[in-house]
Amino acid sequence: MTFDRDNIAAVADEYVLGLLEAAEVADLEAEMERNDDLKAAVAASRERFLPLDTTVEPATTDETLWQRIERALPEQSASPRRNGQGPANDNNGNGWRATAIASLAATVLLALGLAFSLMRTVEPLVVAVLLNDAGEVQAVVEDFGNENAAIRLLADIDVPADKTIQVWTLPSKEMGPVSLGLIEGIRSTRLDGPSLPLPKDNQLYEITLEQQGGSPTGRPTGPILAKGWARLPR
């Protein structure tokens, strides 16, 4: 199927009238995502024919159809992109609210972090939401103890080609900051850290920008990108 300038209006009309085959419909809907002219032509065509629909004699309605709709509605989550991805808000209970960090967004993300952790068989011992200086959520760390932790980046962090993001925690003042590992590229990752005491409530986690291969000193040397304090899932 072609979407030439001359052809667009005609194809849009046939789409709106329902005259295209299933495969052509799929092609057109994919093309619409990137072709603004086509999108506009479809919108214009819809508006042209809309009076044939708005003037229809309404059917009788009843409460049972609405009840069926309402039962099937998924929760609307904080970020529209997460639509349909499960019970993200079902865990937004009082325990999380009480420990919310700074903002409603952080609260919701804590709940998301918990939901994420609940969907797996192994539960993390603590979850930490990491915020930048502006108070914006950047990442969630889940620490499982047993030398295992996972970090999910929740913001686009600009990492220069010769740098890397290193994840740290502060098990105690005596031990000082300990590296949990590096994030490969700018993706979320599982970390295999050293053997440490079990993570506790209020333990500090942070991510810093370090040179390739990680901090040469074994202590954070680069700028802190985000930090946050652990919470125990309630």
């Binding site: 329902g18 009076p51 003037t55 309402e70 609307q76």
Partner: protein, 183 residues
């Protein structure tokens, strides 16, 4: 034609849906469900299939409300298009075929009535009415059969007793004439 809800009210409802307000979706249901069921039923014929279409459409309105852009047409047009697309998809999946086998004669009469009823109910002062009226009767009917009844090229050709190729080029030319007339 008097609208029971101003378009900008539907726009506000969609925005509220995107923010998780179920009352806003309920409002859209209260204002539009009767028409939406009727529109779906013109295409899928059976009431229970039409309700299935409308149910799926409302879930999609809810989950995709954030994608509505007012610069791309009216909120009403966006909502109706979702219902029309669900109904047309159901046709392509072949559900209506069973309905046709079940009650062929009755349904045949009903659907051609539906198509002409849509024509008679159209506002005589509208651009669409004037421009459709400028087409000859068979061509006007073929456009209405497609849009209102969800008929395919083949079904229209069969009912108007015309070769398929002729029907396709008729419809294509009629649509071009309509676009020029309404521009």
């Amino acid at each position: 034609m008097l609208m029971s809800s101003a378009p900008d009210e539907l726009e506000r409802s969609l925005a509220a849906c995107a923010n998780g307000d179920r009352n806003a979706l309920r409002h859209i249901y209260d204002v539009e469900a009767g028409r939406l069921i009727a529109i779906a039923q013109r295409i899928v014929r059976r009431r229970e299939l039409a309700e299935e279409v409308v149910q799926e459409a409302f879930i999609r309105i809810w989950t995709h409300a954030h994608q509505y852009e007012s610069t791309r047409g009216s909120a009403r047009g966006w909502i109706y298009a979702i219902v029309r697309n669900r109904a047309l998809n159901m046709l392509r999946d072949g559900k209506r075929e069973h309905a046709i086998e079940d009650i062929e004669t009755l349904q045949e009469k009903d659907s051609s009535d539906d198509v002409m009823t849509a024509w008679y109910r159209l506002d005589r002062n509208s651009r669409l009415y004037a421009c459709l009226d400028a087409l000859d009767d068979q061509r006007k009917r073929s456009i209405l059969m497609a849009y209102v009844g969800g008929y395919s090229h083949g079904e229209i050709a069969g009912r108007l007793r015309l070769p398929l190729g002729t029907t396709k080029s008729w419809i294509r030319r009629s649509l071009t004439a309509l676009r020029e007339c309404m521009a």
